[in-house]
Symmetry: C2
Subunit: 113 residues, 2 copies
DNA sequence: CAGTATCCAAATAGATACTG
DNA sequence: CAGTATCTATTTGGATACTG
């Protein structure tokens, strides 16, 4: 099936691009790493962990991570409402990849750029 | 030493950011992956492997990868001159990380975005 | 507490044409 | 073959103020 030369399934190259595009966003890696280390956190809690991020940018980043299926948003109906953010299994599965990046960076990226 | 709270060495967070910033550039991962698979390649050769990249963008990307210490440029004095690009050990050390990303993407990133 | 709305600046990428 | 020069478009990130 599929008459012309178009690949029937997504290529590794495309997959790699989508993964690096996602992790290349300025705040995504540190957000994921924080949730890996701390478990579920509320919006402002997360914000305090990150340092330097604005409400708007945090809000956008969390939306993107939800859309990608890495983070779940859980609304706890209290007064005032509380919203918890935590990783999905897909998000948790990034742990070895992220640690690989940290290790690679430590061993091969000069500190003086 | 170092009186105030500034970290004496770069934190893992900063390292992670520098690594993902580098790999988050649109063409860097596929460039690295191509050089991993093919070894040394000339400018136009590399360009043919990539598909869709312009001279300018390829040229800039290669410069950035050299500056980061992942790629070496080797000028062969022929007529016409030939310039080979290949990976440094630091570049080659990315192989498992990149394969980890591909695998993670295949297993956890939905194809329908 | 958990966000939105605006407006703005900078970084990134691409098209196209030209050079030694 | 191996690039550089321009100009433009798009994407991303940030400051600030406001809302339920």
């Amino acid at each position: 099936m599929n008459g012309r030369g178009e690949p029937a399934v997504e290529s590794d190259g495309q997959r790699l691009r989508r993964a690096t595009e996602l992790l290349g966003k300025k705040w995504h890696p540190v957000l994921i790493r924080t949730l890996l280390a701390e478990g579920a956190l509320g919006f402002n809690e997360l914000k305090r962990h990150i340092d330097g991020i604005s409400d708007k940018v945090l809000s956008e980043a969390l939306e993107e991570l939800q859309d990608a299926g890495l983070v779940v948003r859980d609304v706890v109906e209290d007064k005032p409402v509380r919203v918890n953010y935590s990783l999905t299994p897909a998000g948790e599965a990034l742990e070895p990849v992220i640690e690989g990046l940290v290790t690679w960076s430590r061993e091969h990226l000069s500190e003086t750029d």
